[in-house]
Protein backbone atom coordinates (compact mmCIF):
# COMPACT_ATOMS: atom_id res chain seq x y z
CA UNK A 1 0.00 0.00 0.00
CA UNK A 2 1.67 3.29 -1.07
CA UNK A 3 1.91 5.98 1.61
CA UNK A 4 -0.60 8.85 1.62
CA UNK A 5 1.64 11.87 1.08
CA UNK A 6 -1.00 14.58 0.81
CA UNK A 7 -4.44 14.66 2.34
CA UNK A 8 -6.56 17.74 1.72
CA UNK A 9 -10.03 17.73 3.20
CA UNK A 10 -12.55 20.47 2.27
CA UNK A 11 -9.87 23.12 2.27
CA UNK A 12 -10.77 26.79 1.84
CA UNK A 13 -8.11 29.47 1.52
CA UNK A 14 -7.80 33.07 0.41
CA UNK A 15 -6.35 36.50 1.08
CA UNK A 16 -7.63 39.35 3.25
CA UNK A 17 -10.95 37.72 3.98
CA UNK A 18 -11.64 36.87 0.30
CA UNK A 19 -11.89 33.16 -0.37
CA UNK A 20 -10.00 32.14 -3.52
CA UNK A 21 -10.45 28.36 -3.27
CA UNK A 22 -12.98 26.30 -1.33
CA UNK A 23 -14.19 22.73 -0.81
CA UNK A 24 -10.91 21.40 -2.16
CA UNK A 25 -10.35 17.74 -1.30
CA UNK A 26 -7.38 15.80 -2.65
CA UNK A 27 -5.60 12.64 -1.67
CA UNK A 28 -2.20 11.89 -3.17
CA UNK A 29 -0.30 8.66 -2.66
CA UNK A 30 3.25 7.74 -3.50
CA UNK A 31 3.60 7.12 -7.22
CA UNK A 32 1.05 9.75 -8.23
CA UNK A 33 1.88 12.85 -10.26
CA UNK A 34 -1.00 15.28 -10.26
CA UNK A 35 -1.41 17.92 -12.93
CA UNK A 36 -3.21 21.06 -11.79
CA UNK A 37 -4.73 23.19 -14.54
CA UNK A 38 -7.28 25.96 -14.79
CA UNK A 39 -7.74 29.56 -15.92
CA UNK A 40 -5.75 32.47 -14.47
CA UNK A 41 -7.06 33.45 -11.05
CA UNK A 42 -8.95 30.20 -10.59
CA UNK A 43 -7.23 29.48 -7.25
CA UNK A 44 -4.48 27.01 -8.22
CA UNK A 45 -1.61 28.91 -6.61
CA UNK A 46 -3.73 29.72 -3.55
CA UNK A 47 -4.42 26.02 -3.08
CA UNK A 48 -0.73 25.15 -3.38
CA UNK A 49 0.22 27.94 -0.96
CA UNK A 50 -2.23 26.52 1.55
CA UNK A 51 -0.64 23.10 1.05
CA UNK A 52 2.78 24.59 1.85
CA UNK A 53 1.42 26.47 4.87
CA UNK A 54 2.29 29.86 3.37
CA UNK A 55 -1.29 30.96 3.94
CA UNK A 56 -3.58 29.44 6.55
CA UNK A 57 -6.44 27.21 5.48
CA UNK A 58 -9.63 29.06 6.44
CA UNK A 59 -11.47 25.76 6.61
CA UNK A 60 -10.67 22.08 6.30
CA UNK A 61 -7.36 20.38 6.96
CA UNK A 62 -4.03 19.83 5.24
CA UNK A 63 -1.76 16.91 6.13
CA UNK A 64 1.54 16.07 4.46
CA UNK A 65 2.90 12.57 4.96
CA UNK A 66 0.43 12.15 7.83
CA UNK A 67 1.44 15.35 9.63
CA UNK A 68 -1.06 18.24 9.87
CA UNK A 69 0.59 21.39 8.54
CA UNK A 70 -0.94 23.49 11.30
CA UNK A 71 0.02 21.52 14.39
CA UNK A 72 3.12 19.68 13.13
CA UNK A 73 4.52 22.27 10.80
CA UNK A 74 8.21 21.27 10.83
CA UNK A 75 7.48 17.56 10.34
CA UNK A 76 5.03 18.26 7.54
CA UNK A 77 7.42 20.63 5.76
CA UNK A 78 10.25 18.09 6.09
CA UNK A 79 8.35 15.94 3.63
CA UNK A 80 7.60 18.82 1.26
CA UNK A 81 9.71 20.32 -1.50
CA UNK A 82 8.05 23.52 -2.68
CA UNK A 83 9.61 25.47 -5.54
CA UNK A 84 9.04 29.09 -4.61
CA UNK A 85 8.41 31.77 -7.20
CA UNK A 86 11.77 32.79 -8.72
CA UNK A 87 11.02 36.42 -7.84
CA UNK A 88 10.83 35.47 -4.16
CA UNK A 89 14.32 33.99 -3.94
CA UNK A 90 16.81 35.89 -1.72
CA UNK A 91 18.33 38.34 -4.19
CA UNK A 92 21.34 39.08 -1.99
CA UNK A 93 22.57 35.49 -1.88
CA UNK A 94 24.35 33.56 -4.58
CA UNK A 95 22.78 30.38 -5.91
CA UNK A 96 25.29 28.30 -3.96
CA UNK A 97 24.53 30.14 -0.73
CA UNK A 98 20.82 29.66 -1.25
CA UNK A 99 21.24 25.93 -1.81
CA UNK A 100 23.52 25.70 1.23
CA UNK A 101 20.93 27.49 3.35
CA UNK A 102 18.19 25.08 2.30
CA UNK A 103 20.50 22.09 2.74
CA UNK A 104 21.51 23.23 6.23
CA UNK A 105 17.84 23.33 7.25
CA UNK A 106 17.11 19.96 5.64
CA UNK A 107 20.28 18.52 7.20
CA UNK A 108 21.73 17.28 3.94
CA UNK A 109 24.49 18.23 1.53
CA UNK A 110 23.94 21.09 -0.90
CA UNK A 111 24.31 18.55 -3.74
CA UNK A 112 22.04 15.89 -2.28
CA UNK A 113 19.65 15.72 -5.21
CA UNK A 114 17.73 12.65 -6.40
CA UNK A 115 19.64 13.03 -9.68
CA UNK A 116 23.46 13.21 -9.56
CA UNK A 117 24.97 16.50 -10.69
CA UNK A 118 21.61 18.19 -11.14
CA UNK A 119 23.38 21.53 -11.49
CA UNK A 120 25.07 20.20 -14.62
CA UNK A 121 21.97 18.41 -15.91
CA UNK A 122 19.84 21.55 -15.68
CA UNK A 123 22.69 23.81 -16.75
CA UNK A 124 22.99 26.26 -13.87
CA UNK A 125 26.44 25.26 -12.56
CA UNK A 126 28.10 28.28 -14.16
CA UNK A 127 25.76 30.62 -12.28
CA UNK A 128 26.12 29.14 -8.81
CA UNK A 129 28.41 31.91 -7.56
CA UNK A 130 26.43 34.76 -9.08
CA UNK A 131 24.03 36.72 -6.86
CA UNK A 132 20.49 35.62 -7.57
CA UNK A 133 19.54 39.21 -8.37
CA UNK A 134 21.77 38.99 -11.43
CA UNK A 135 20.56 35.60 -12.64
CA UNK A 136 18.01 35.26 -15.43
CA UNK A 137 14.45 34.19 -14.71
CA UNK A 138 15.14 30.72 -16.06
CA UNK A 139 18.26 30.23 -13.93
CA UNK A 140 16.41 31.36 -10.83
CA UNK A 141 13.58 28.95 -11.67
CA UNK A 142 16.11 26.11 -11.98
CA UNK A 143 17.68 27.03 -8.63
CA UNK A 144 14.27 27.16 -7.01
CA UNK A 145 13.45 23.68 -8.32
CA UNK A 146 16.90 22.39 -7.35
CA UNK A 147 16.33 23.68 -3.80
CA UNK A 148 12.95 21.95 -3.68
CA UNK A 149 14.58 18.68 -4.74
CA UNK A 150 17.30 18.84 -2.06
CA UNK A 151 17.07 15.88 0.27
CA UNK A 152 14.57 14.20 -2.08
CA UNK A 153 11.39 15.13 -0.16
CA UNK A 154 8.40 12.81 -0.44
CA UNK A 155 6.03 15.41 -1.88
CA UNK A 156 7.04 17.91 -4.57
CA UNK A 157 5.01 20.98 -5.43
CA UNK A 158 5.90 22.92 -8.57
CA UNK A 159 3.68 25.94 -9.10
CA UNK A 160 4.18 26.90 -12.75
CA UNK A 161 7.89 26.35 -12.15
CA UNK A 162 8.49 24.82 -15.58
CA UNK A 163 7.22 27.91 -17.40
CA UNK A 164 10.53 29.77 -17.45
CA UNK A 165 12.73 26.81 -18.37
CA UNK A 166 14.33 26.18 -21.74
CA UNK A 167 12.93 23.16 -23.64
CA UNK A 168 15.86 20.84 -22.90
CA UNK A 169 15.91 21.61 -19.16
CA UNK A 170 12.13 21.28 -19.00
CA UNK A 171 12.30 17.88 -20.67
CA UNK A 172 15.13 16.69 -18.41
CA UNK A 173 13.28 17.82 -15.32
CA UNK A 174 10.15 15.97 -16.38
CA UNK A 175 12.24 12.84 -16.82
CA UNK A 176 13.61 13.26 -13.29
CA UNK A 177 10.11 13.77 -11.87
CA UNK A 178 8.84 10.65 -13.64
CA UNK A 179 11.73 8.57 -12.31
CA UNK A 180 11.18 9.83 -8.77
CA UNK A 181 7.45 9.18 -8.82
CA UNK A 182 7.93 5.75 -10.39
CA UNK A 183 9.74 4.59 -7.23
CA UNK A 184 6.43 4.85 -5.37
CA UNK A 185 8.08 6.79 -2.52
CA UNK A 186 7.39 10.22 -3.99
CA UNK A 187 4.42 12.16 -5.30
CA UNK A 188 4.27 15.50 -7.10
CA UNK A 189 1.86 18.26 -7.98
CA UNK A 190 2.57 20.20 -11.13
CA UNK A 191 0.60 23.35 -11.82
CA UNK A 192 0.84 24.51 -15.42
CA UNK A 193 -1.02 25.96 -18.38
CA UNK A 194 0.75 23.67 -20.86
CA UNK A 195 -1.71 20.79 -21.09
CA UNK A 196 0.22 19.13 -23.89
CA UNK A 197 3.18 18.48 -21.58
CA UNK A 198 0.99 16.65 -19.06
CA UNK A 199 0.04 13.88 -21.45
CA UNK A 200 2.96 11.59 -20.92
CA UNK A 201 3.76 12.86 -17.43
CA UNK A 202 0.76 12.89 -15.10
CA UNK A 203 -1.13 10.05 -13.51
CA UNK A 204 -3.99 12.32 -12.42
CA UNK A 205 -5.39 15.63 -13.57
CA UNK A 206 -7.50 18.25 -11.81
CA UNK A 207 -9.17 21.30 -13.34
CA UNK A 208 -9.79 24.24 -11.03
CA UNK A 209 -12.36 26.86 -11.97
CA UNK A 210 -13.93 29.72 -10.02
CA UNK A 211 -12.31 28.65 -6.77
CA UNK A 212 -13.46 25.04 -6.89
CA UNK A 213 -12.19 21.75 -8.22
CA UNK A 214 -14.45 21.43 -11.24
CA UNK A 215 -13.18 18.30 -13.01
CA UNK A 216 -11.01 15.31 -12.12
CA UNK A 217 -9.47 12.64 -14.30
CA UNK A 218 -7.71 9.59 -12.92
CA UNK A 219 -5.02 7.33 -14.33
CA UNK A 220 -7.56 5.24 -16.26
CA UNK A 221 -9.11 8.33 -17.92
CA UNK A 222 -5.70 9.60 -18.97
CA UNK A 223 -4.63 6.22 -20.31
CA UNK A 224 -7.89 5.95 -22.27
CA UNK A 225 -7.42 9.40 -23.79
CA UNK A 226 -3.77 8.71 -24.61
CA UNK A 227 -0.96 11.32 -24.46
CA UNK A 228 -2.23 13.09 -27.55
CA UNK A 229 -5.88 13.09 -26.54
CA UNK A 230 -5.73 14.74 -23.14
CA UNK A 231 -6.08 18.29 -24.43
CA UNK A 232 -9.19 17.32 -26.40
CA UNK A 233 -10.58 15.48 -23.38
CA UNK A 234 -10.11 18.52 -21.14
CA UNK A 235 -11.47 20.99 -23.66
CA UNK A 236 -14.50 18.83 -24.32
CA UNK A 237 -15.26 18.69 -20.62
CA UNK A 238 -14.64 22.37 -19.95
CA UNK A 239 -16.24 23.97 -23.01
CA UNK A 240 -18.94 21.38 -23.49
CA UNK A 241 -18.07 20.82 -27.13
CA UNK A 242 -15.64 18.53 -28.88
CA UNK A 243 -12.31 20.33 -29.31
CA UNK A 244 -11.06 20.54 -32.87
CA UNK A 245 -8.37 22.67 -34.45
CA UNK A 246 -8.64 24.07 -37.95
Amino acid sequence: MPPVLLDLSDVAAGYGGRIAIQDASLRLEGGQLLGLIGPNGAGKSTLLRAVAGLIPALAGSVAIDGHPILSERERALSALGYAVDPAELPAALTGRQYLEMVASVRRCQATDWPEPELDHVLGFRAWLDTPLAQCSLGTRAKLSIAAALLGAPALLVLDESLNGLDPVSSWRLRQILQRMVATGRHAAILSTHQIEMLGSLCTDLVYVEDGRIAYRWNRLDLETAGPGGIEAMVMTAVTGTAATIG
Binding site: L54, I55, P56, R75, L77, S78, V84, P90, L93, V105
Partner: protein, 381 residues
Amino acid sequence: MLKPDTLLLRLRLSRWRRFVGSCFGPSARTRAGFGAALLLVCLGGLGSLWRDRAGIASVITGRPALMAVLASATALLAGFSAGRVTSGTARMDLASPWLATLPWSARDRRRAVALSCLPPYGVVVASILTAVVLEGGLVRWTDMERTGPLGLGLVSMGFVCGGFSVPPAIAGRRQSRRVVRRRSALLDGLDRTRPRWLGNWALGRLATIKARLFLILPAILCLLGIAGSIQTGTAWPAALTGAVGGHLIFLHILRCHPLRANALRVLPVPFGRAAWGVVRLPLALSLGWFAPLGLAAFAVAPGDPTTAGCLISLVSLDGLMILISLWLADSPPAAMLLHATALLMGAQYALRLGISEAALALVLAIVLWRGAKRRFVRGTG
Protein backbone atom coordinates in the same frame (compact mmCIF):
# COMPACT_ATOMS: atom_id res chain seq x y z
CA MET B 1 -0.43 60.64 -22.22
CA LEU B 2 -0.45 61.83 -18.61
CA LYS B 3 1.53 64.93 -17.72
CA PRO B 4 4.36 64.38 -15.23
CA ASP B 5 2.53 66.39 -12.54
CA THR B 6 -0.60 64.26 -12.89
CA LEU B 7 1.48 61.13 -12.83
CA LEU B 8 3.30 62.28 -9.71
CA LEU B 9 0.04 63.14 -8.01
CA ARG B 10 -1.29 59.66 -8.76
CA LEU B 11 1.95 58.14 -7.54
CA ARG B 12 1.69 60.02 -4.27
CA LEU B 13 -1.97 59.17 -3.81
CA SER B 14 -1.12 55.54 -4.47
CA ARG B 15 1.58 55.59 -1.82
CA TRP B 16 -0.74 57.38 0.61
CA ARG B 17 -3.39 54.69 0.09
CA ARG B 18 -0.75 52.03 0.64
CA PHE B 19 0.33 53.67 3.88
CA VAL B 20 -3.23 54.08 5.16
CA GLY B 21 -3.95 50.51 4.09
CA SER B 22 -0.95 49.19 5.96
CA CYS B 23 -2.14 50.96 9.13
CA PHE B 24 -5.81 50.16 9.04
CA GLY B 25 -6.14 47.20 6.68
CA PRO B 26 -7.71 44.00 7.99
CA SER B 27 -4.36 42.23 8.19
CA ALA B 28 -2.84 45.01 10.31
CA ARG B 29 -5.64 45.77 12.75
CA THR B 30 -3.75 44.12 15.56
CA ARG B 31 -0.69 46.16 14.75
CA ALA B 32 -2.64 49.42 14.68
CA GLY B 33 -4.39 48.60 17.95
CA PHE B 34 -1.16 47.71 19.63
CA GLY B 35 0.47 50.86 18.29
CA ALA B 36 -2.38 53.01 19.59
CA ALA B 37 -2.18 51.38 23.01
CA LEU B 38 1.57 51.88 23.12
CA LEU B 39 1.12 55.49 22.08
CA LEU B 40 -1.27 56.09 24.98
CA VAL B 41 1.14 54.50 27.44
CA CYS B 42 3.94 56.51 25.90
CA LEU B 43 2.02 59.76 26.27
CA GLY B 44 1.40 58.95 29.92
CA GLY B 45 5.09 58.24 30.35
CA LEU B 46 6.06 61.48 28.67
CA GLY B 47 3.72 63.36 30.98
CA SER B 48 5.49 61.84 33.96
CA LEU B 49 8.80 62.64 32.35
CA TRP B 50 7.82 66.26 32.09
CA ARG B 51 6.65 66.36 35.70
CA ASP B 52 9.90 64.77 36.88
CA ARG B 53 12.12 66.88 34.68
CA ALA B 54 13.82 68.49 37.66
CA GLY B 55 14.77 65.10 39.07
CA ILE B 56 15.97 63.83 35.73
CA ALA B 57 17.93 67.00 35.09
CA SER B 58 19.69 66.50 38.40
CA VAL B 59 21.03 63.20 37.08
CA ILE B 60 22.86 65.01 34.35
CA THR B 61 23.74 68.22 36.14
CA GLY B 62 27.05 69.73 35.37
CA ARG B 63 26.88 68.83 31.68
CA PRO B 64 24.42 71.32 30.13
CA ALA B 65 26.63 71.95 27.11
CA LEU B 66 26.96 68.21 26.46
CA MET B 67 23.20 67.75 26.67
CA ALA B 68 22.59 70.68 24.32
CA VAL B 69 24.93 69.12 21.77
CA LEU B 70 23.32 65.71 22.27
CA ALA B 71 19.80 67.13 21.87
CA SER B 72 20.73 69.07 18.76
CA ALA B 73 22.48 66.10 17.20
CA THR B 74 19.50 63.86 17.95
CA ALA B 75 17.05 66.32 16.38
CA LEU B 76 19.27 66.73 13.34
CA LEU B 77 19.78 62.98 12.96
CA ALA B 78 16.05 62.25 13.35
CA GLY B 79 15.17 64.74 10.63
CA PHE B 80 18.00 63.51 8.41
CA SER B 81 16.92 59.89 8.74
CA ALA B 82 13.29 60.73 7.98
CA GLY B 83 14.29 62.79 4.96
CA ARG B 84 16.61 60.11 3.64
CA VAL B 85 14.05 57.33 4.03
CA THR B 86 11.34 59.46 2.44
CA SER B 87 13.46 60.62 -0.45
CA GLY B 88 14.93 57.19 -1.03
CA THR B 89 11.48 55.64 -1.26
CA ALA B 90 10.22 58.34 -3.59
CA ARG B 91 13.25 58.08 -5.85
CA MET B 92 12.90 54.32 -6.03
CA ASP B 93 9.33 54.79 -7.18
CA LEU B 94 10.45 57.31 -9.76
CA ALA B 95 13.14 54.94 -11.02
CA SER B 96 10.67 52.08 -11.41
CA PRO B 97 10.62 50.62 -14.93
CA TRP B 98 7.11 51.76 -15.76
CA LEU B 99 8.02 55.38 -14.96
CA ALA B 100 11.62 55.27 -16.19
CA THR B 101 10.55 54.30 -19.70
CA LEU B 102 8.21 57.27 -20.08
CA PRO B 103 9.46 60.09 -22.34
CA TRP B 104 10.02 62.72 -19.64
CA SER B 105 12.45 65.57 -20.18
CA ALA B 106 15.42 65.96 -17.83
CA ARG B 107 13.76 69.07 -16.39
CA ASP B 108 10.59 67.14 -15.61
CA ARG B 109 12.59 64.44 -13.88
CA ARG B 110 14.52 66.96 -11.75
CA ARG B 111 11.27 68.62 -10.75
CA ALA B 112 9.75 65.26 -9.96
CA VAL B 113 12.65 64.35 -7.67
CA ALA B 114 12.40 67.70 -5.87
CA LEU B 115 8.64 67.33 -5.44
CA SER B 116 8.93 63.75 -4.33
CA CYS B 117 10.86 64.79 -1.21
CA LEU B 118 7.61 65.74 0.46
CA PRO B 119 5.15 62.91 -0.07
CA PRO B 120 2.42 62.36 2.54
CA TYR B 121 4.24 59.38 3.97
CA GLY B 122 7.32 61.48 4.64
CA VAL B 123 5.27 64.18 6.29
CA VAL B 124 3.72 61.63 8.63
CA VAL B 125 7.08 60.06 9.48
CA ALA B 126 8.71 63.46 10.01
CA SER B 127 5.82 64.64 12.19
CA ILE B 128 6.03 61.58 14.41
CA LEU B 129 9.80 61.84 14.70
CA THR B 130 9.58 65.55 15.44
CA ALA B 131 7.01 64.92 18.14
CA VAL B 132 9.11 62.13 19.65
CA VAL B 133 12.29 64.17 19.65
CA LEU B 134 10.76 67.41 20.91
CA GLU B 135 8.35 65.89 23.39
CA GLY B 136 10.72 63.17 24.44
CA GLY B 137 12.66 65.38 26.73
CA LEU B 138 16.13 65.67 25.25
CA VAL B 139 15.57 69.19 24.06
CA ARG B 140 13.49 70.12 27.08
CA TRP B 141 16.24 69.01 29.42
CA THR B 142 18.25 72.00 28.32
CA ASP B 143 15.87 74.94 28.00
CA MET B 144 12.44 74.52 26.50
CA GLU B 145 11.70 78.17 25.81
CA ARG B 146 14.73 78.77 23.66
CA THR B 147 15.59 75.36 22.27
CA GLY B 148 12.11 74.19 21.31
CA PRO B 149 11.95 76.19 18.05
CA LEU B 150 15.62 75.45 17.50
CA GLY B 151 14.91 71.72 17.75
CA LEU B 152 12.08 72.00 15.25
CA GLY B 153 14.36 73.92 12.91
CA LEU B 154 17.08 71.30 13.29
CA VAL B 155 14.65 68.48 12.49
CA SER B 156 13.43 70.36 9.42
CA MET B 157 16.96 71.12 8.30
CA GLY B 158 17.94 67.49 8.78
CA PHE B 159 14.88 66.39 6.81
CA VAL B 160 15.78 68.56 3.84
CA CYS B 161 19.46 67.51 3.94
CA GLY B 162 18.45 63.85 4.23
CA GLY B 163 16.07 64.28 1.31
CA PHE B 164 18.82 65.51 -0.97
CA SER B 165 21.49 63.16 0.37
CA VAL B 166 20.29 60.16 -1.66
CA PRO B 167 22.13 60.19 -5.00
CA PRO B 168 19.89 59.21 -7.94
CA ALA B 169 22.42 56.51 -8.81
CA ILE B 170 21.78 54.75 -5.50
CA ALA B 171 18.02 54.83 -5.98
CA GLY B 172 18.38 53.50 -9.49
CA ARG B 173 20.72 50.78 -8.33
CA ARG B 174 18.30 49.73 -5.60
CA GLN B 175 15.44 49.66 -8.03
CA SER B 176 17.24 47.53 -10.57
CA ARG B 177 18.19 45.12 -7.76
CA ARG B 178 21.68 44.85 -9.17
CA VAL B 179 23.28 43.67 -6.00
CA VAL B 180 27.04 43.71 -6.39
CA ARG B 181 28.63 42.08 -3.38
CA ARG B 182 32.14 41.61 -2.29
CA ARG B 183 32.41 38.76 0.15
CA SER B 184 33.46 39.64 3.66
CA ALA B 185 35.38 36.82 5.30
CA LEU B 186 34.56 38.20 8.76
CA LEU B 187 30.80 38.22 8.20
CA ASP B 188 30.75 34.96 6.25
CA GLY B 189 32.59 33.21 9.08
CA LEU B 190 29.92 34.32 11.54
CA ASP B 191 27.13 33.12 9.27
CA ARG B 192 27.99 29.49 8.67
CA THR B 193 26.01 27.79 11.44
CA ARG B 194 22.58 26.31 10.73
CA PRO B 195 20.58 27.78 9.07
CA ARG B 196 23.41 29.15 6.95
CA TRP B 197 23.60 32.56 5.26
CA LEU B 198 20.52 34.08 6.88
CA GLY B 199 22.63 36.97 8.13
CA ASN B 200 24.02 37.67 4.65
CA TRP B 201 20.53 37.45 3.23
CA ALA B 202 19.16 39.85 5.83
CA LEU B 203 21.95 42.37 5.43
CA GLY B 204 22.08 42.22 1.63
CA ARG B 205 24.23 45.04 0.29
CA LEU B 206 24.79 46.25 3.82
CA ALA B 207 27.03 43.25 4.45
CA THR B 208 29.96 44.88 2.69
CA ILE B 209 29.32 48.48 3.62
CA LYS B 210 28.71 47.78 7.29
CA ALA B 211 31.73 45.53 7.59
CA ARG B 212 33.91 48.42 6.46
CA LEU B 213 32.06 50.83 8.72
CA PHE B 214 32.44 48.41 11.60
CA LEU B 215 36.19 48.22 11.16
CA ILE B 216 37.31 51.78 10.44
CA LEU B 217 35.15 54.45 12.07
CA PRO B 218 34.32 52.60 15.28
CA ALA B 219 37.97 51.65 15.69
CA ILE B 220 38.79 55.34 16.12
CA LEU B 221 35.95 55.81 18.62
CA CYS B 222 37.10 52.66 20.36
CA LEU B 223 40.56 54.11 20.89
CA LEU B 224 39.07 57.38 22.15
CA GLY B 225 36.92 55.54 24.67
CA ILE B 226 39.85 53.52 25.98
CA ALA B 227 42.02 56.64 26.12
CA GLY B 228 39.29 58.41 28.09
CA SER B 229 39.15 55.61 30.65
CA ILE B 230 42.92 55.51 31.05
CA GLN B 231 43.14 59.28 31.43
CA THR B 232 40.35 59.59 33.98
CA GLY B 233 41.07 56.28 35.70
CA THR B 234 37.38 55.38 35.58
CA ALA B 235 35.43 52.74 33.66
CA TRP B 236 32.58 54.83 32.30
CA PRO B 237 34.17 56.44 29.17
CA ALA B 238 35.12 53.06 27.66
CA ALA B 239 32.08 51.15 28.97
CA LEU B 240 29.61 53.81 27.86
CA THR B 241 31.24 54.09 24.43
CA GLY B 242 31.00 50.31 24.15
CA ALA B 243 27.33 50.15 25.09
CA VAL B 244 26.16 53.12 23.02
CA GLY B 245 28.31 52.24 20.01
CA GLY B 246 27.37 48.57 20.17
CA HIS B 247 23.70 49.38 20.26
CA LEU B 248 23.93 51.93 17.44
CA ILE B 249 25.69 49.34 15.26
CA PHE B 250 22.97 46.85 16.13
CA LEU B 251 20.20 49.32 15.27
CA HIS B 252 21.84 50.10 11.97
CA ILE B 253 22.32 46.58 10.69
CA LEU B 254 19.47 44.52 12.16
CA ARG B 255 17.16 43.38 9.36
CA CYS B 256 14.53 40.66 9.80
CA HIS B 257 12.81 40.64 6.40
CA PRO B 258 13.79 37.02 5.60
CA LEU B 259 11.23 35.96 8.20
CA ARG B 260 8.52 37.24 5.86
CA ALA B 261 9.99 35.53 2.79
CA ASN B 262 8.33 32.44 1.35
CA ALA B 263 11.75 31.03 0.45
CA LEU B 264 12.38 30.61 4.20
CA ARG B 265 8.83 29.97 5.35
CA VAL B 266 8.46 26.81 3.24
CA LEU B 267 11.46 25.23 4.96
CA PRO B 268 11.10 22.98 8.02
CA VAL B 269 12.77 25.43 10.36
CA PRO B 270 11.23 26.44 13.71
CA PHE B 271 10.58 30.13 14.25
CA GLY B 272 13.08 30.41 17.08
CA ARG B 273 15.90 29.02 14.97
CA ALA B 274 15.02 31.22 12.00
CA ALA B 275 14.88 34.28 14.25
CA TRP B 276 18.26 33.39 15.75
CA GLY B 277 19.70 33.00 12.25
CA VAL B 278 18.62 36.52 11.39
CA VAL B 279 19.81 38.27 14.56
CA ARG B 280 23.02 36.39 15.35
CA LEU B 281 25.23 38.37 12.96
CA PRO B 282 24.16 41.84 14.15
CA LEU B 283 24.30 40.63 17.74
CA ALA B 284 27.82 39.28 17.27
CA LEU B 285 28.94 42.59 15.77
CA SER B 286 27.28 44.54 18.56
CA LEU B 287 28.88 42.47 21.32
CA GLY B 288 32.12 42.31 19.34
CA TRP B 289 32.24 46.09 19.42
CA PHE B 290 31.64 46.15 23.17
CA ALA B 291 34.20 43.45 23.98
CA PRO B 292 37.48 45.42 23.69
CA LEU B 293 36.00 48.47 25.35
CA GLY B 294 34.48 46.44 28.14
CA LEU B 295 37.78 44.65 28.74
CA ALA B 296 39.61 47.99 28.79
CA ALA B 297 37.09 49.42 31.25
CA PHE B 298 37.44 46.34 33.45
CA ALA B 299 41.21 46.55 33.33
CA VAL B 300 41.23 50.23 34.33
CA ALA B 301 38.67 49.85 37.15
CA PRO B 302 38.10 46.17 38.03
CA GLY B 303 35.73 46.86 40.93
CA ASP B 304 33.58 49.39 39.11
CA PRO B 305 30.04 48.07 38.44
CA THR B 306 29.66 50.46 35.50
CA THR B 307 31.12 47.94 33.04
CA ALA B 308 28.70 45.18 34.01
CA GLY B 309 25.84 47.68 34.01
CA CYS B 310 26.71 48.84 30.49
CA LEU B 311 26.91 45.25 29.25
CA ILE B 312 23.52 44.43 30.76
CA SER B 313 22.08 47.61 29.26
CA LEU B 314 23.48 46.72 25.84
CA VAL B 315 22.05 43.21 25.93
CA SER B 316 18.68 44.52 27.17
CA LEU B 317 18.48 47.21 24.49
CA ASP B 318 19.50 44.78 21.75
CA GLY B 319 16.92 42.32 23.09
CA LEU B 320 14.18 44.94 22.97
CA MET B 321 15.10 45.84 19.41
CA ILE B 322 15.13 42.16 18.43
CA LEU B 323 11.58 41.67 19.69
CA ILE B 324 10.31 44.79 17.93
CA SER B 325 12.14 43.97 14.69
CA LEU B 326 10.86 40.41 14.63
CA TRP B 327 7.35 41.78 15.01
CA LEU B 328 7.80 44.52 12.39
CA ALA B 329 10.12 42.47 10.20
CA ASP B 330 9.14 44.12 6.93
CA SER B 331 9.59 47.71 8.10
CA PRO B 332 12.94 48.62 9.74
CA PRO B 333 12.07 52.36 9.99
CA ALA B 334 8.84 51.58 11.84
CA ALA B 335 10.72 49.18 14.11
CA MET B 336 13.30 51.84 14.88
CA LEU B 337 10.59 54.40 15.60
CA LEU B 338 8.83 52.04 17.98
CA HIS B 339 12.15 51.24 19.63
CA ALA B 340 12.89 54.95 20.14
CA THR B 341 9.43 55.42 21.64
CA ALA B 342 9.87 52.46 23.93
CA LEU B 343 13.25 53.80 25.05
CA LEU B 344 11.80 57.19 25.91
CA MET B 345 9.10 55.46 27.89
CA GLY B 346 11.62 53.17 29.51
CA ALA B 347 13.86 56.09 30.46
CA GLN B 348 11.03 57.40 32.56
CA TYR B 349 10.22 54.08 34.21
CA ALA B 350 13.87 53.15 34.76
CA LEU B 351 14.03 55.67 37.57
CA ARG B 352 11.51 53.70 39.61
CA LEU B 353 11.25 50.22 38.16
CA GLY B 354 8.82 48.08 40.11
CA ILE B 355 7.01 44.77 39.84
CA SER B 356 4.15 46.18 37.78
CA GLU B 357 6.48 47.78 35.20
CA ALA B 358 8.53 44.58 34.95
CA ALA B 359 5.35 42.52 34.51
CA LEU B 360 4.13 44.91 31.81
CA ALA B 361 7.46 44.60 30.00
CA LEU B 362 7.27 40.81 30.20
CA VAL B 363 3.72 40.75 28.83
CA LEU B 364 4.75 43.05 25.99
CA ALA B 365 7.71 40.80 25.20
CA ILE B 366 5.48 37.71 25.08
CA VAL B 367 2.91 39.48 22.89
CA LEU B 368 5.61 40.63 20.46
CA TRP B 369 7.23 37.18 20.28
CA ARG B 370 3.95 35.34 19.75
CA GLY B 371 2.82 37.86 17.15
CA ALA B 372 6.09 37.50 15.25
CA LYS B 373 5.88 33.71 15.42
CA ARG B 374 2.30 33.70 14.17
CA ARG B 375 3.25 35.80 11.18
CA PHE B 376 6.13 33.50 10.34
CA VAL B 377 4.12 30.31 10.64
CA ARG B 378 0.78 31.43 9.23
CA GLY B 379 1.67 34.51 7.22
CA THR B 380 -0.95 36.57 9.03
CA GLY B 381 -1.37 38.16 12.45
